[in-house]
Every structure is written in C-alpha cells, then in structure tokens.
C-alpha cells in the first residue's frame, strides 16, 4: 500500500514536471493536486495577515467545499497564524511572528487587504504600522499570496478619493523594492478555490501556478467574464436588456464583464450556487484592476461609460 502511494506520488511528480516544461501548467486540475498531495510529507507554513481589509476573503475561504476546511488546516496548510482562526491573541501573536521569522522555517505569507503607505498609521498591529511589519516579513516569505482585490490591486481601499495611499501587494512590493514572488487572487471576495489551488500547487511544486503579468494564475484569470457569459449570444445579436428583469445582455445597464478577468461564469460563487450575471445583475467588475469605478450600475440610456480611468 505504502509502496503504491509513493509510486503514484513520484509518477505524478514526473507528469507535473513534464507538463510544466511544456508550459501547459495551467492545465493541472484541482483533483490532480489533491491526489498528488494526498500524503504530504510536510504541510506548507502559512502566515495570514490583514492589512486594510474587511475580512470578506477569510469568510469566503471558510465556504470552500472542494476540500474540507479541516483538511486544509490539518493536512495541506500549517496555519501558523490567522487573525480570525488563531486562539493566540495579544503578545502571543507578535511572539509567534517573531519566532517564525527567527526560525528560518519556510513560509508563504497571505495578505488580505491593502497596505497604506501615504498614511501608514491608518493600519496598525501591536502599535506598529502594517507597512513596517510588511517590510520586515515580506522579504522573508517564500512567496506571498495577495488574497482578494484589495490585496491584489487596492480595491475599495484605493478607490478614487482615498487619502491613505493604500497599495495592493504588487504595487507595494515594487514600491519597497521587495522581490518576493506575488500571486494575486483578485475577486471581491477572493474565491476560496483560487486560494486552495494556489497553496496546493505551491506545496506540490514549490512554485506558483503559471501567472499572467499581474501575478494572476492564468488558469482562473485567462479570460474575461464576458467571454464565457450566459448572455454572450444575446450580446452578439445586439440584443440588450433595457431594464432589470428583461432578457438580453446587460451591457447597457453598466455590465463590466468585458473589462474584468475571472472565471466567474464557469465556476460561479459559493460552490457554483450563483453569480452576479446569473442572478440578473450586471457584473460590477469586482475582480478587475479598476474596481470600484464611479459608475457601476446604470440605466439603459445613460451615456456614461465604464471604460477604465486608472490603468
């Protein structure tokens, strides 16, 4: 039995290596990863911190059904610290982080929320700014997962009109000259499958899945919402909905599916229970680089458009 497992494991490893070599890594499925990781030698250490966030991505993580949460905690990820799950509180938290950094144990850093830089004192942990924590922790991480749109691109914390100078992790690492690889998982909230897949991929291969230029796994963010939309046929026939509740493409009601990349229309949200467009509401572009825009939902004859303002 043991022998068999090891053989299967090493066989899978060879297959993965071959797939990766041909540049087709984004085809590795979730189930491949789960099988490969069925008997991991060591769960990957995960340190999960909150910048300026709303905790929505954590709530979303707990919704996963593809892998039971208890399996994530006991088999695939060693959650060294998580603000909403850890029993550790107060000084125990700072001691844990200090110990992790001193121990030289490898770890993946997960950041939920953005990092305020112009007004760093607007996000504090243990009387220190999140900016100073990040300057200390981020360089030591093997990789960093930016969970959700705020951590990836700034999201609502970087909307036009904000004073805090908050940055998503890509921009932040560039600004601070830190070269730790960043995997961005935009989505407001992040989809839990994207996260668990990325963690499993990292623990199986020691590297992130194939990414696009914004650090997004190509497997999930290769196409726009519009490309796979249930209303795409209506769009092609110029059949537009004039008001909510009517049939037809929702473009004229403000839909941002064309400028938003994610696999929403394939895997939906909440274990594929539903997603915005299937519920009859235009896509508001929540996983996009320019979320949120000043206009997100409008009437048919509204001439204001949804073209990106900040690129």
């Amino acid at each position: 039995m043991m022998q068999q497992e090891i053989t299967r494991r090493s066989a899978l490893k060879r297959i993965f290596a071959a797939i990766a070599a041909t540049g087709a890594g984004s085809f590795i499925t979730f189930d491949d990863l789960l099988a490969a990781d069925a008997n991991p030698r060591k769960a990957i250490n995960v340190l999960w911190l909150h910048g300026s966030s709303c905790t929505g991505c954590t709530c979303s993580l707990l919704d996963i059904e593809k892998v039971p949460v208890v399996d994530i905690l006991t088999r695939f990820a060693h959650m060294v610290f998580h603000h909403d799950l850890s029993l550790a509180t107060g000084d125990q938290v700072t001691e844990t982080i200090d110990k992790l950094l001193e121990s030289e144990e490898p770890f993946v850093l997960v950041v939920e929320g953005s990092i305020p830089v112009r007004m760093p004192h607007t996000c504090m942990v243990a009387h220190r700014t999140m900016d100073s924590w990040m300057q200390r922790i981020l360089p030591k991480a093997q990789a960093c997962i930016a969970a959700g749109t705020c951590a990836a691109f700034g999201g609502v914390t970087q909307m036009e009109g904000m004073d805090t100078g908050s940055m998503g992790l890509l921009q932040y690492s560039y600004y601070r000259g830190i070269t730790t690889p960043i995997i961005t998982l935009p989505g407001c909230p992040m989809k839990p499958e994207h996260f668990v897949y990325s963690v499993l991929h990292y623990s199986t291969h020691g590297a992130p899945p194939p990414l696009d230029r914004y650090g997004r796994p190509r497997r999930f963010f290769g196409r726009t919402v519009h490309d796979r939309c249930v209303k795409y046929a209506d769009f092609q026939e110029n059949y537009f909905s004039r008001k909510i509740g009517e049939d037809g493409c929702l473009l004229r009601l403000g839909c941002q599916g064309m400028v938003t990349r994610s696999d929403c229309m394939i895997t939906g949200y909440n274990n594929n229970t539903n997603v915005c467009l299937r519920a009859g509401h235009p896509c508001i572009g929540c996983s996009g680089e320019n979320f949120p825009r000043r206009v997100m939902f409008h009437t048919y004859d509204d001439t204001r458009d949804i073209i990106p303002r900040r690129v």
Partner: protein, 516 residues
C-alpha cells in the same frame, strides 16, 4: 501601584483592535479600546453615482455586507421617497435573516467558543466521529513531533479556567467543525437572491434585482431545511451548555445597560417590524428619536472641529490626523486613541447588538413569540431580562434571535409571489437627502446620503454598530460602552487576561465596520 494590561492585536474579532487597561491590583481601573484601522470610504464616495454606495459601503465589512447593502438602499429609497417592491422587501428580509444566523454561528463557534471550551479535550475523545478523530490524531501528532508551532492555529492560547465538562467540550468542538459547512450553506442561500456571498450585488434601491422564481425559492427552501436543525438543536444546546458551565458570566461585562436598537424585519410593505426599535435607559423603554444622535471626536484621531458634537452628515468636515500629529497624540497620556468616533444618544453612550434587540423588543411587548422564548430561557437558567446585558447574556441573545429569525424566515418565504417583480427602477434623486436604518448582525446601523444636482453623492455617512459599542471616551468624559464593560473586572492572571478577552468578544466587535 497601577500596572497595565495590553491586548494588541485582539484576534478573533473583525479587524485591528487594541485594548489597554489600567489595573488597580487585579481589578480594571479604566480601559481604552482603540480601533486601529482607517480607510475613509465615506469621504471617498463623494462624486460617485448614488447607486454605487450600495456596492461600495458593503465592502466596509465582509462579515455583514448585506446589512450595509440594504441600509444603503434604504437611504437612497428614502431620498427617492419610495419603498421597495413587496417581493423585494421579503427577499431582503430572507437574505439579512440568513446572514445574521450565519454570523451568529461564526461568532459563537469560530470566534468565541474556544475561549470557554477546552480544545485539548479532543485528545480524550473516544467516539467514532470522523472529524473529531481526524483532529485528535492531528493534535497528537503535532504535539509529539516537536514542531515549532504545534497545533497552530489552536495553540498557543490563553491558559484559563476552561470548561471541564468533557461532554460539553466535545459537543462544542464537534459544533465548531460542523458549523463550517452549515455556514457555507447559509452563504449559498444569500447567493441565491444576492448573486454571491460575501458582497452580494443584487440589492438596489427599489428592491432586489433577482426575481423570486419557483426554482430559486425551492432551492432556498431546501437549504433552509438542511440548516435549520443545526441552529435549533446543536447551536442552541451548545450555547446553553456554555451558559450553564459559566453562570458567573451573566454578571460580567455589564456596562452601562443603556440599550439602543432600530426597528428590524418588517412585513412585505415595510411596516410592522418583527423586532422593535427603541431605547432602554435606566431600565425604562422609550420610543426611538433619531435626531438625538450626535457624534463626538474628542478622543478620535481627527483634527478638532469647531464643534465637538456633530450631527450625522456633518462629520465630513473631519480630517484624519497626519502621521506626525498621530504620533504626538500617542505620546500624550490623555491624547486621542482611536480611529472610531463616539456616537451618543441624548449624550449617552449606548450598547447596541443582540442583547439590545432582545431587551428593547421584550420591554416593548410587541412580540409575544420573543417574550415567551425569553421567559422560557430565564426559567431554565434562573436569570432575568436585565441579565442579558452581560457576556453570557449576549451569547444567549444571539441564540434566541437565531431561533426566532428562523421561524420568521420560514413564514416569510411562503409569502413570496413568484412571477411578480422584486425590483422597480426609479430615477436617482437630485439634491435630496435620505436616511436608512436597520439592525445589522452586531446592532443598530444607519446610513445617511445626500445627492447633488447631478444625482452624484455630495455627502455620505455611516454610523455602525461597533462605532457605538467600541467608541472611545467623549468630551464629557463618558467611556465607550465596551470600556465601561471592562471596568472593575477582576483579572486572575495578568499574563492570560482571558476575562477581558471574553468581555470584548461578547460584543462581536467589527473594526472594519466601525471606522470604515
């Protein structure tokens, strides 16, 4: 000699919270609660389309976004002078109800239970439950293998007087594990009429953009039937078991006892609320007067304004402190110490949340179903209605609300009219003002909106449950409600101040909401 106890960060609450107490021996002399994150969404909303408020303000909180979405829609509807479609109102009730029950489970099991329940009890588990066996095996292995962080995230923890009743411990640990897929199912119910969860898109001024088709209603009903037994049985029993194991906590964390709640869960026409709004001050229930609400910022990190007492929609004159001035305040012993402002009702700090909802509705006498259930629990646990303003009273309030809300949702689900719309479109009003009020999971929530001549947002303000509960001192020297709850608490071991953590967590703080 006075010493200090600092808990920073307070974990298992939403957001960045610091609690600092000055001790007189082992007794808390005074406390300071600091909300340590500021984003500034209200000011940023200026110039945005009024309809974006619903999508953006719900992102102040990923734990209770629907409450903000609904309140934003209510505020805009008030400015429009309309009410949502009856179907839309029912769908909102069903969705907020779903969200709140899910939040109560999250709060009890994921965030609070392990402050009372001994997680290491799982090592002595001898039954056949696969989940518990898995956790037991894992903890054993973790402890045996000399890991750097054994059994994280469940260890380390404060060492304290955990529950010693093995059966209660095991039941709640099983509840901890089983609640996770139940919460996911509740989120699916939100997604059915909201599009997705967290951050459902489908609520707009005028109703809900997802029509209640027969198949959606059937899907919702099936999930509700799957989840209901867990809430009615396991959750309710686990709360009672903890309450029975820690009866002293009906006397801890009592605070001022001033309670504020807004009317919540109306009928399809927006009238006849299931939970009454109102205030209880000095034990006496009174009707709600919204214009008694002011906000103070004497101890909040904003530049002083000509008037320390601002009315809603006047706080846009406040500017956040710069880094230099922030540090200057921090170095003063009487300086400003929180990003949270201090809302007051008639000048008084008010507790909001589940206990306020129970106490006010009970005293209003408008809901006999609630009074009967409360009376039943009072007899079982030998408590009175006044004991609900306490650590354990707040946990019990949530369990009671969850049961009542379930009953109410089952009734309202059958009132939906498939085939009729749930949404009607209305033009965005120009130069208009509106206010929306409701109860979020954590208590009274209000949004205020003002539009300009183009229908864009001129001014926006939110006064959020945790802004009330976690408020800092005000100019008259009144402590915030949670600060008051902490005062005089006896801490057995300053290195493991579990008593303080239990009080703070009983109010389910959400700093992201409170400061936004």
């Amino acid at each position: 000699m006075s010493t200090k106890i600092v808990i920073d960060p307070v974990t298992r609450v939403e957001g960045h919270l610091r609690v600092e107490t000055t001790m007189d021996g082992n007794r808390v002399q005074s406390a300071r609660c600091s909300g340590d994150m500021f984003r500034g969404l209200e000011k940023a909303l200026k110039g945005y389309d009024a309809r974006t408020a619903q999508q953006i303000t719900q992102r102040v909180c990923g734990v209770c976004p629907y409450a903000h979405a609904e309140t934003a829609a209510l505020a805009l509807e008030d400015a429009m002078g309309i009410r949502p479609e009856p179907n839309g109102q029912l769908l909102r009730n069903l969705t907020v109800g779903t969200y709140q029950i899910k939040d109560f489970l999250l709060h009890f099991y994921t965030l609070c239970a392990l402050d009372f329940i001994d997680i290491t009890a799982v090592l002595g588990y001898e039954g056949r439950d696969a989940g518990l066996q898995q956790v037991r095996g894992w903890v054993q292995q973790e402890l045996a293998n000399n890991k750097v962080f054994p059994a994280a995230p469940f260890l380390p923890r404060y060492e304290a007087d955990y529950c010693t009743d093995q059966a209660a411990n095991i039941s709640a640990i099983k509840g901890y594990l089983d609640a996770i897929p139940i919460m996911a199912d509740f989120h699916k119910m939100v997604a059915i009429f909201g599009g997705k969860s967290p951050h459902p898109v489908a609520i707009e001024a005028g109703g809900v953009t997802t029509p209640p088709t027969l198949d959606r209603i059937a899907h919702f009903r099936t999930l509700l039937a799957t989840c209901a037994p867990f809430v009615r049985e396991q959750y309710t029993q686990d709360v009672i078991a903890v309450a029975q194991a820690f009866p002293g906590y009906f006397r801890e964390g009592r605070g001022y006892g001033n309670m504020l709640s807004y009317p919540y869960l109306p009928d399809a026409n927006g009238d006849n609320f299931f939970f009454a709004g109102g205030v209880t001050i000095d034990g006496e229930y009174r009707a709600l007067e919204l214009d008694k609400i002011t906000e103070d910022h004497t101890y909040a990190y904003y530049y002083d304004n000509s008037s320390p007492l601002l009315r809603p929609l006047q706080t846009d004159t406040l500017r956040p402190l710069s880094s230099v001035d922030f540090q200057a305040q921090q170095s003063r012993s009487d300086g400003k110490y929180s990003w949270g402002r201090a809302p007051r009702y008639d000048g008084l700090p008010m507790e909001v949340g589940p206990a306020a909802r129970i106490i006010n509705t009970y005293k209003s006498g408008t809901n006999s179903e609630l009074n009967a259930l409360v009376n039943r629990f009072n007899r079982q646990l030998d408590i009175t209605i006044d004991d609900y303003a306490s650590v354990m009273g707040r946990h019990l309030s949530r369990a009671i609300l969850a049961n009542l809300t379930l009953n109410h949702m089952e009734r309202q689900l059958e009132m939906l009219q498939p085939g009729k719309p749930a949404f009607s479109e209305h033009p965005v009003p120009r130069n208009a003002r509106g206010v929306g009020i409701t109860e979020a999971t954590r208590g009274s929530l209000s949004h205020y909106i003002e539009t300009d001549s183009r229908g864009l947002i001129r001014n926006y303000e939110m006064i959020v449950p945790t802004t009330w509960n976690m408020s800092p001192r005000d100019g008259s020297g009144n402590q915030g409600p949670v600060e008051q709850m902490l005062q005089n608490t006896v801490v057995a071991d300053a290195a493991n101040p579990m008593e303080l953590a239990r009080i703070v967590r009983s109010t389910d703080p959400c700093i992201g909401c409170s400061v936004h």
